[in-house]
Every structure is written in C-alpha cells, then in structure tokens.
C-alpha cells in the first residue's frame, strides 16, 4: 500500500475550505494552503485545481486601461520589470519584446477560437503567404485530455452520464441532516455515533429507497457493519478500479466535488468548539466512505445501463491554428512582417498568452493603486500640520479600515481630539459571556486561546420575564406554524398579525424594527466580573498604552472604541464584525480594558495621573451608533469632559455615515447630512436589504506608524491604521509583535476579498438572492447545492482586487531583520501575498519589498488636492477616490485638482 488512507485524507483536507459555521465567520486567506508558493504561481495552481479564475478577466482589466485607472506608465513599468528584453526587434522591422508586450496589453484583441475560428478560416479562403508561413511554422500540439482522477470522470467521458447527479442530492441531504444545528424538527437518528454509522443505521435496514442505483446497498452495508471507515474507503476504491498509486488524487478529487460540505465535516472534526449548538462527532474519512460507497453504486448502475462507448482520444499532433491566427492578426495590426522568422514571432505571441496578459495587467492595476497611496502618504507627510498642544480627549479605535473615516471626521470636527489604532480586542484576550448569552465565546484573535473568563453580571433587572415569554411564544409560532395541526391554528389565528408584519417589513422597515426592538425593553444595567490579577492587567494596559503612545501624554478622557455590526437579511452578519476579536463584537473588550485601566492599583503601577478616566464604548459600523459602558462609574470631575467627547463622537458618526452612504446607489448624490444616519440605519434593519454595509470591501492598505503622519489625509476608508511610534520601540519588540498580529489578519481579510471578487462562483458564494440557510451552518443556492463558502457578491462588488499594501514606518534594515527572524511573516511577504513597504519619513524615503530586497520607490505625483472638509473630496462620487489633504482651518484654495485626479 502506498500510504495509509488516513494520511491521504489528511493531505486532501488541507485543500478544503477552512470556513467554519457562519455564526463565527473569521476572514482568512482562501488559498491559505498555497501560501508556500509565490502568489502568482499559487493562484494559477489553485485555479487549475478548483477550476477557478486566478486574476480578474482580461476584459475587466482592459476596461481599466480604457478608463485610465491603469495608465500607460504602469504598463511600461510593469513590462520593464517582468519581461526580459535585449533591445533588438524580434523580427526585422518589428517591435522589441517589451514594445510588443506593451502593445498587446494596451489593445484588447478578441481572437476567435475553436469552432468559430474554423468557420472563419473556411469562409475567408486564402489569407495570403504570411498566413501560410505562420501556419507552417506553428508548433504541433497534441490535444491533452482533461485529468480524470475520479472514476466518475471516466464514466462521464465514456457514457455521457454524470454519476454525481445521482450521488450528490443524496449526499447533500445526508450531510445536511447529520450536521444540522436545529432547523429540522426531527434530528437524524444515531448521529451521535458518527456519519458513517448513522448512514449505515438508516440505509442498512430492509425496505430501502427504491432508487434503482441503490439496489443492493442495504445488503452491502449490513455486511460491512463492523468495518471502519478506512477499510470501506479502500474497498470502494478497489472496487472502482482505481490503481493504488492514484488513490490520493482520487480521494482529493472526490472530496473537492462537494468541497463545501466536505470542508464543513472537516471543520466539525477539528474545531468542534465552533459548532453553534452542538458538535456531532464528524470525521472527514466517514464522509469520504459514504461518498465513495454511493459513487460505487452509481458507477456500477450507469455502466450496467449504458455500456461504455469508450472515449475518443485524439493523439494526432496538429498545428496550433489558434496561435497561428493570433500571430497573424497581431502581425497585421502591428504592421509587422513576420515572414523572415515566423517561428520567433509565434514564440513571442505564444509567450504573451491570456494568463500572462492578465497577470501583467493586474500588476499594472496594483501598481497604479500603490503609487497613488505611497505618493499620497509621502506628500502628506511633507505638509506641515500644526501640532495641537491641548488634547481634550483621546480615542483608541480598532485598526479596522472602516474606522478610518470616523477617526478622520472626529479629528476634522474636533481638533482637540486625538485618535489611535490598535487591534480591536485591546489586548484583552478573554472568554466572554454577556448577560444574555447562553455560552461564553472567545473574544480575541483566532491565533490566541484565551485563558480568562469575563462575565457580564446584571445589577438591575431588565424586562427579562416579558422578553422570555415573548421569545418563547415567537419560537412556538415559528416551529408550530410548520407543523400540521398547530400550523392550521396559527395560520388561521395569526393571518392579521402576518399582514401587519408584512406591511411593516416591506414598506416601513426602520419603524417596524424599532417597534419590535422596543418590545424587548431596556438593556439591564450590568458590570463585568474580570478575573485578571493586577499584574496581568498592568501588562495588558501598559502594552496597549505604550504601543499606541497614549501613555506618553494621556488626555483627561480616553475612549476605547470596540466595534461590531448588526444587520438583518444577512447570513454573513458576523463577517462584518471585528476580525481582531475572532469575528465577535469588540464592545466588551473595550469595556474590560477601560475597567482595568481605571483600577487604582493598575494606575499606580503604570504611573497614570488620577485626573484621567477611561471609558469603554462600542461602535456599530452598520448603523453608526455608539454605546458607552459603565457611564455611572465616571467620576463627577470627568462627566462634562465625557459629554463633550460623546457629542463629538456623535457628530463624527453622522459625517462618517454620510461618507459611507455615497457607496450605496440607493442614496442620492445630494443626500442631506441630517438624513445620513437614517439611511444607514434603514440598511441595517431592512429584511429586503442585501447590502447592510459594504464591510471590508474597500480594504487595500495598512499603515503602521504614527497617526500624526496620516492625520488629515483622506484615505477613503481603505486603510487599516495601526498606531506605532518607532521612537518608543528601541529593540523592535513592539513592531515585531504588531506585524505578527497585523500582517496575517489584514492579509486574511484582504485576500478573502480578492478571491471572492475574482471568482465569485468558485471562491465566493455568488449572489445572495437565492441563498438558503441550511442547518444554521451555512448557505446553499436553492434547495440542494454544495455549501457555499467565501463572501457573497453583494459584499465584494465594489472591491478593488489588489493585494494588501502594508506600509510600515521603519527602516528597511529593521524590517529585514524582523522578516528573517519570523518565517511565517517572511513567507507572506516573500511570496508576494502582501506588498510590504518600509517608510522612513525623516529621509522622505520609501522602499518596496520586491524579489527579496527593498527597492526605493520613486514618487510620480507630489501634488494632491487640498480641501478643508472630507465632504469636498467625496461629494457626488461613488467610486474609489485617491488621496487628498483634508486640512481643517487652512486657507483655501491651494493646488490644482486636475493633476491629482489622475492618480485615482
């Protein structure tokens, strides 16, 4: 035997989607398993394996060339980097290699292929001597048969019948029933014994399903009742006549045929703690055994009914007509005579194939974005911004790029406010259980396993009893209305209520939600029970305040702003929550941090003055509301200051909502400032709204450095902003821990958006409109499809697929040292999953990491628009915007807008 079945399954499991149940959505690199490869190789390899797109389509990228989003300079620069050139024409009188590539990228050429080309050539008659020579010189190719590792592929090729159409519906039903977390009224019998056992329990009984392909299944299952899954897999593969050497490939291909369900089985196997209600003892190998058993029966059935015709395999080598024709057309459009050396011309044309063009165009697309942002950062840093001496309050936000606009507006409106960015769990890694939660959940980055429990304890009573009765009743109606007798009574009795709710939800969504919410009553007053020792608290508080720089000069009020998002009609709701809390809501972390920092012993240990106060708060990014915690504990001297801070925050929320609404096509261009919050809130509560917010769709950049460098720079909600002061970090310890946390988290978000955008059908989960929640775990398209993983199109539709541009305020030497010491980070950066830039503002220098070294970035634009309010930048615009200096209170007008517009 080549390798034990278990190892083969383990190997295949790495290539399955790693998305767990939707309740705890954590962004991750869709191609995490390929991170060992350079990005460009990985997307191609994975694309072949999954049948997915590696880059945006050439048509889409070419549109960007036409619209000027990709400039000529970008094309020339990218080709110069990627294409080797000896400066000589490839054929006499023709272009050099680089000139050819630039021309090829600049013009979209729709070359007919396959039958349409054959037809065209037959119609065209004699195309002249050039064509004849090119055709004669064209390389001979043998058509390659598609790889067919699964018996199903062979059967399909030979008989034209797809056995998956027999097997998949049944397998989907079984997997759905086994993993179901509470949709079905009846749970699957015997599922506590594992998937294979439950399957045997159901299907080994006599009187089985009458499907013709399942004939004899019961007897086989009875015979195998004592076999383990590995033995069944080996038996099925042998019966399917798969050579042992190919077992690994066959297993992988079999699992990938329904990779969503296989992946969920795997997730239940390795992370049972993430199951929303109860984890069944799932094993991927059990699932594989069931799938292969069904495959075997289906294959036997199909082969028995439709004897194999034998697939027609073409072995004759024929000239590559498509290439020859493409070369012919290009020779004409470029006015080149390839006849002196047709082979060289063909080789050149063949070298610049569709995949390469897309790769180059995408590189040019990324380059334009990168240059725009780097130039903007550099230009802004050169603008003198007057330092504020009196700071009234400070606010520490999550690094999330959605908070960029809130921070900017806050600073714009309230010059005495100062903001910082730190990962939204604020160093408090905890298992948290809120007053209404039924079990605790970790609120910290997924790589950390929290050891502390924090519990929210009520100190006054809410309307718990009323709430409970109401919930019980609505549950009773929800379940009962689907049954026979109770359903009859409920539908008769509740028709009028149904009408009221229907009218409310369809026509007045915001009012309907408010009414429903009001019935729940007030949230009870609570406190957190924090089980940390003073030393631990000092460590947490000290680390955050030191890294951000708050400790150096704390303001009288320090707000900690955690964030999350609440929305209706959104199975992917938790994908909009805070990534730094592992897909949870960061309010409790902010609250716990504030409680720790307000502890007198902690203050004494850190030397914090007595007249400052920390307040935890929560920002709902979907409706732009703020919640403040433990306000009753605020000492009297700080109350007025806190009120001022709250007013400023409320004002900033309005502006941020206004800026965000410009992305929604439903919002008019001239949306009044006063209507912005209402518009955003309607999006959050509307059952008919598939775009509650655009989430991370605008992410593209991450800046690690002092806020003073970016304060007042319009970054269009596109940048994760991490506060870091190099001056206070003498031994790089702070920077190292920041990069280790920020790099993978931001790259995970960024790459998940990249892949879901580039191939919404394979990497993403497609349009939301037909989504159907199954088993409280995930979504299917309609009633029986694979479990769809990735992000829905409505979440990513406005995304720009560029790799994260990570700009760090540090010298190349320091970054190189950190990279060489940390293999994981080096792999992400070295393989090009992140674009890393070292920024040395003192020298006005930037270095882009490429091909293993930091290479200086040469600025192209030094002039950016200068405005006094953010609204002047975004007014009337829907698309992505370039950088601009927003200098509140500066005399205007300053430079020209026209030059800067091009940078977009």
């Amino acid at each position: 035997m080549s390798a034990p079945i278990g190892d083969l399954v383990e190997h295949a499991a790495h290539l399955l989607p790693e998305q767990g149940p939707l309740q705890t959505f954590v962004h991750h690199n869709t191609l995490h398993a390929f991170e060992d490869l350079p990005f460009h190789d990985a997307v191609v390899r994975a694309g072949e394996l999954f049948g997915a797109q590696p880059f945006p389509t050439e048509e889409e990228l070419h549109d960007h060339v036409v619209l000027g989003r990709i400039t000529d300079a970008d094309l020339v620069a990218v080709v110069a980097e990627e294409v080797a050139d000896d400066g000589l024409p490839v054929v006499p009188g023709g272009p050099t290699r680089r000139e050819f590539h630039v021309h090829r990228l600049r013009h979209l050429l729709d070359v007919p292929r396959g039958p349409s080309l054959r037809w065209l050539l037959a119609e065209a008659g004699d195309l002249g001597p050039t064509w004849a020579e090119l055709l004669a010189a064209a390389p001979k190719v043998v058509p390659t048969a598609a790889a067919a590792p699964r018996p199903r592929d062979r059967v399909l090729a030979e008989t034209g019948v797809d056995t998956d159409t027999l097997v998949h519906p049944l397998l989907i039903r079984l997997a759905g029933a086994f993993l179901d977390q509470g949709v079905a009224y009846w749970p699957m019998p015997a599922r506590d014994q594992g998937f294979l056992a439950a399957f045997r329990h159901l299907y080994a009984k006599a009187g089985g399903p009458p499907d013709r392909f399942l004939r004899g299944l019961g007897a086989t299952l009875r015979e195998q009742s004592t076999w383990d899954a590995e033995r069944t897999v080996a038996w099925a593969l042998t019966e399917l006549e798969v050579p042992e050497a190919d077992w690994g490939e066959a297993i992988l291909a079999t699992l990938l045929s329904l990779r969503g369900w296989a992946g969920m089985m795997r997730q239940f196997e390795v992370r049972p703690d993430r199951a929303p209600v109860a984890a069944q003892p799932a094993r991927l190998v059990d699932y594989l055994a069931v799938q292969l058993t069904l495959d075997l029966f289906a294959t036997r059935h199909v082969l028995a009914k439709a004897p194999a015709r034998g697939a027609v395999v073409e072995v004759t080598a024929r000239p590559d007509v498509e290439l020859a024709y493409e070369a012919f057309v290009l020779a004409q459009t470029m006015a080149v005579d390839p006849t002196p050396d047709p082979a060289a011309w063909l080789a050149l044309v063949g070298d610049c194939d569709g995949l390469r063009r897309r790769r180059l165009l995408h590189a040019a697309y990324e380059r334009r974005h990168r240059v725009g942002v780097l130039d903007g950062l550099a230009a802004h840093q050169r603008m003198s911004t007057s330092d504020n001496t009196s700071v009234e309050f400070q606010a520490v936000f999550c690094i999330d790029e959605r908070e960029e606009s809130l921070r900017r507006h806050l600073e714009e409106n309230t010059p005495t406010a100062q903001t910082f960015g730190f990962a939204g769990f604020f160093g408090v890694a905890m298992n948290y259980r809120g007053v209404h939660d039924i079990h605790s959940r970790p609120l910290c980055p997924v790589v950390i396993t929290p050891t502390h429990d924090v519990v929210e304890r009520p100190i006054t009573q809410g309307r718990a009893v009323f709430r409970k009765v109401r919930a019980g009743w609505s549950h009773h109606v929800g379940v009962g209305s689907r049954t026979l007798a109770r359903g009859g009574l409920f539908s008769l009795g509740l028709g009028a209520v149904g009408l009221a709710s229907l009218v409310g939800r369809c026509l007045f969504p915001r009012q309907a939600q408010r009414f429903s919410h009001r019935l729940d009553g007030r949230y009870p007053r609570t406190r957190l029970d924090i089980g940390y020792t003073v030393e631990e608290m000092v460590g947490i508080v000290g680390a955050v305040l030191r890294t951000t720089g708050v400790l150096a000069a704390p303001a009288p009020i320090v707000l900690l702003v955690g964030h999350g998002s609440s929305s209706m009609n959104n199975p992917h709701e938790s994908a909009h929550d805070c990534g730094a809390t592992g897909g949870g809501r960061g309010g409790p972390n902010a609250r716990a941090f504030a409680a720790m920092a307000n502890n007198p012993l902690v203050r004494a240990a850190l030397g914090l003055p007595d007249d400052i106060w920390f307040v935890g708060s929560y920002h709902n990014t979907c409706d732009d509301t703020m919640t403040y915690f433990d306000e009753d504990l605020v000492p009297a001297r700080s109350v007025a200051e806190l009120d001022r801070a709250k007013t400023a925050m409320a004002q900033a929320c309005v502006f941020a909502a206004h800026e965000r609404c410009r992305r929604f096509e439903t919002a008019p261009h001239d949306l009044a400032l006063d209507d912005a919050l209402a518009h955003a809130q309607t999006h959050a509560v509307d059952l008919g709204q598939p775009r509650p917010e655009y989430g991370h769709a605008t992410n593209a950049v991450c800046v690690v450095g002092r806020r003073s460098l970016t304060r007042g720079l319009y970054l269009d909600r596109r940048a994760f902003l991490v506060s870091y002061d190099p001056a206070s970090d003498t031994d790089d310890a702070l920077l190292t821990s920041l990069l280790l946390a920020v790099g993978p988290v931001c790259a995970g978000i960024n790459l998940e958006y990249y892949f879901s955008y580039v191939d919404p059908a394979r990497y993403g989960c497609g349009t939301k409109l037909p989504h159907n929640i199954t088993g409280l775990l995930g979504v299917m398209d309609g009633h029986a499809s694979d479990l769809r993983t990735g992000l829905p199109w409505q979440m990513v539709e406005i995304h720009e697929p560029v790799r994260l541009l990570l700009v760090v305020e540090a010298t190349p030497q320091r970054l190189s040292a950190i990279l060489s010491a940390h293999a994981g980070l080096a792999r992400l950066v070295g393989n090009g999953w992140i674009q890393l830039v070292a920024w040395v503002p003192e020298d006005d220098a930037m270095f882009l990491f490429r091909d293993g070294t930091f290479q200086p970035h040469l600025p192209e634009t030094t002039q950016f628009p200068v405005v006094s309010r953010s609204a002047e930048v975004y007014a009337g615009q829907r698309g992505h915007l370039g950088c601009a200096h927003v200098l509140a209170g500066v005399e205007l007008p300053v430079p020209v807008l026209a030059t800067a517009q091009e940078v977009r």
Partner: protein
C-alpha cells in the same frame, strides 16, 4: 363594476405589456421606473378589488361580459364573496413584494426581467381569480404557470434553477391536462363528477399535492421574494381556489388533502434547510385547506387560504435572517432553544422511527418512483422502441 373588474386585471396586464415592449425595443428604463410601474399597477389592482368589495356589499355580487371570444365562449368576469378578497390579496402582495424587491434585487442584472415576470404573474392570477368561465381561467392559469416557472429559473446561468424551473413547468403541463380536459368536458355537457375529478387532477400539480409536489422545494432556487409570493402564498393557493370557484368538493378532494397533509408534515420535519422546510409547511397547510374545501366549509377554507398566504410569505421573506433570529432567540430565552421532535421518540419504537425518518429524508421516495420508475421507465421504453426501429430500418435497407 365592469370598469373596476377590467382595471383589476387590465392594469397589471398593461404594465406587463408596456415593460415587455420597452424591453423588446431595447429601451433601458431605470430601476425606479420599472419597479414603480409594477408596484403601482399591483396597487391599483388591489384598490380596484377594495372598490369591488364596496360595490358588492352595496349591490350584491355581479359579473360583466366583455364580449365573446368565439361562439359559446363568453369572456365573463365575476365579482363575488370568493373572488374579491383574493383580488385584494393578490394586489396587496404584488405591491408589497414589489416594494420589497426594489431593495432586494437592486443592482441585479435581472432586475427588469424580475419585474416583467412579477407583472405577468399578478395579471395572470387576477385573470384566474376573476374569470367567470373555465375557458378564460385556463388562460390566466397557463400564464401564471409560465411566469412562476421562469421565476424559478431566474438565475439561468446555473443548471440547478433551470432544472427546477423545468421540473415545475413539466408538472404544470401534466396537471394542465386535467384543467383543459375539464373545460372540454364541461362544454360537451359532461357530468359534474367528471369535471370535478379533472379539476382535482389540475390541482395536484399547481398546489404541489401528493404525489406531484416534488417541484415545490426545487422552486426555492429563485430569488427569495418570488419564492415568497409564488410558493408561500399565491401560486400554490390557486388550486383550492379553483375548486372553490367551481364548487368541487367531496371525498376525492378530502383524500388528496389528507394524504398530502400527512405526507408533507412528515417530510417537512426532516428538512434541514429553511426554505425546504417552509415549502413543505406550505404544502401541509394547502392540503388542510383542501380538506376544508372537500368538507364544504368554503368560508373557513377561504379565510385559511388568505391568512396562510400572509403568514407564510412573511416567513419566507424573513428566512435569510434565520441566523440573526436564532441568536436573538437564544439570548431572549436565556438558554438553549428547546429541542423538537420528542413525541416522535416517545411514541414510536426505534425501528419505526428509523424507517419513518428515512422516508421523510428521502421525501417519501416520490422522486424515485415518479422520476426514476415512471418517467424513466417511459423514456427507456421509448428509447428501446427507437433502437428497435433503427435496427428494422437498417435491415430493410440491407434487404433492399
């Protein structure tokens, strides 16, 4: 009254024709114009229904003859206690779902097509509801079937929805034999029993009753709002309405209702996705309505039909928020959500439970029997005949 009757079905029809012409000639109207037109048309249709109700209350039920299709086939519309409430319901739901879909389908490439089909569906259903003769009803019935099959196949670039739409379309065609047969028999003065039985045949497909209900869960491939209006509410309700309209009751109707109600409630209990679960819930309640119709409890049946339509379409619209609601429910209850299906474990022995569960999970094996055995058998026989014929032709050619 004639004006109101014509408005109730003519306005949605005009909206459909207007949209269809605009799309035919390549005019691209904005989303707002397209949806506004359809919502407005549905609203006018519903309001005409309200006005008809007033007229009916004052003057009593009435009808209007719009002319004669051809000899013996008058175009008659009827407003009475049965049709008027359903006209109002259809107008109201068309208007509400139209408003809902403005946000739901925003930016979808098929936005205009969706509203075109929605307008056709509303107009067609109003024809069914107001038709005073079986012949006119057939017209609406066919158009409604076409519109709903096309809505199921809305995402036609994937094979699943197209297969689902085709399945519904074929089922409709098969059951249409009953309806058209009934119209023919009626014209030839056939017995009421035969007409009744043929109408029950028509209802089996349209209302997804046993054993022709397999298309209903597959119909959930379309966008959520169209699932809500067609399969939660109106489309499946047309069956009982047809029987009420033609005064069909009796043991056959009761039998269909009882068998389907038991079947659908069993099968529905094992469904693990929310839309299939709701589809079988709809099937169950429509079956209960059929029982009521069969017993001659017409008023109860009508009230049940309308109330069910309102409740169920709301539930389907809410189904994408299931995870949110589940979380909220857990929090409000302050504990895990109580398990279901314990009667099942208490009452039945383990062996029977396994059998019953498998029966439910496999959706009563109906597909295996109908598709694999009946339809498949037919196809295989035809294929065999074709092969035999080919062989015969070849032999003839050789001998000649």
């Amino acid at each position: 009254m004639s004006a109101l009757l014509i408005a109730a079905l003519g306005v949605p029809l005009a909206a459909f024709l207007g949209l269809a012409l605009a799309m035919w000639f390549g005019r691209v109207w904005t989303e707002g114009v397209v949806s506004g037109l359809v919502i407005g048309a549905a609203a006018i249709s519903g309001l005409s229904g309200v006005a008809l109700a007033v007229v009916c209350l004052v003057d009593g039920p009435g009808s209007a003859v719009l002319g004669t299709w051809f000899a013996g086939f008058p175009l008659r519309l009827t407003a009475d206690w049965l049709s008027v409430p359903v006209v109002v319901l259809v107008g109201l739901l068309g208007c509400l779902i139209g408003a809902f879909s403005q946000r739901y389908l925003h930016r979808d490439p098929g936005y205009r097509r969706f509203y075109l089909l929605l307008a056709l569906f509303v107009a067609a259903v109003q024809v069914v509801v107001l038709a005073g003769t079986l012949d006119l009803l057939v017209v609406g019935w066919e158009l409604a079937g076409l519109a709903s099959a096309l809505l199921i196949a809305f995402f036609h670039h994937r094979p699943g929805p197209v297969a689902g739409g085709l399945r519904a379309f074929i089922t409709y065609r098969i059951s249409d034999i009953g309806l058209i047969g009934a119209a023919v028999v009626e014209h030839h003065g056939g017995s009421h029993t035969v007409v009744g039985l043929l109408l029950v045949w028509a209802v089996l497909g349209k209302s997804a009753q046993f054993p022709l209900g397999g298309w209903l869960p597959r119909a959930m491939e379309g966008p959520t709002p169209s699932s809500a209006i067609c399969y939660g509410a109106i489309s499946v309700s047309l069956g009982p309405y047809l029987l009420l309209r033609n005064g069909v009751d009796g043991p056959a109707v009761i039998a269909v209702g009882v068998v389907t109600a038991l079947y659908a409630t069993l099968v529905g209990r094992a469904q693990t996705d929310i839309k299939s679960s709701l589809a079988y819930a709809s099937m169950t309640q429509i079956a209960v309505v059929l029982v009521e119709v069969g017993l001659g409890w017409d008023v109860l049946a009508l009230v049940h039909l309308i109330a069910h339509a309102l409740l169920r379409s709301g539930q389907i619209l809410r189904s994408p928020s299931l995870l949110h609601d589940h979380h909220h429910l857990e929090q409000s209850l302050g504990g895990p959500i109580p398990g279901t299906g314990r009667h099942f474990e208490r009452i039945l022995p383990a062996r029977a439970r396994t059998w019953l569960y498998r029966f439910a999970l496999e959706r009563g094996y109906v597909d295996a029997f109908l598709v694999d055995r009946v339809v498949g058998g037919l196809v295989r026989t035809v294929n065999r005949a074709a092969v035999a014929e080919e062989r015969w032709v070849d032999r003839q050619a050789v001998t000649r």
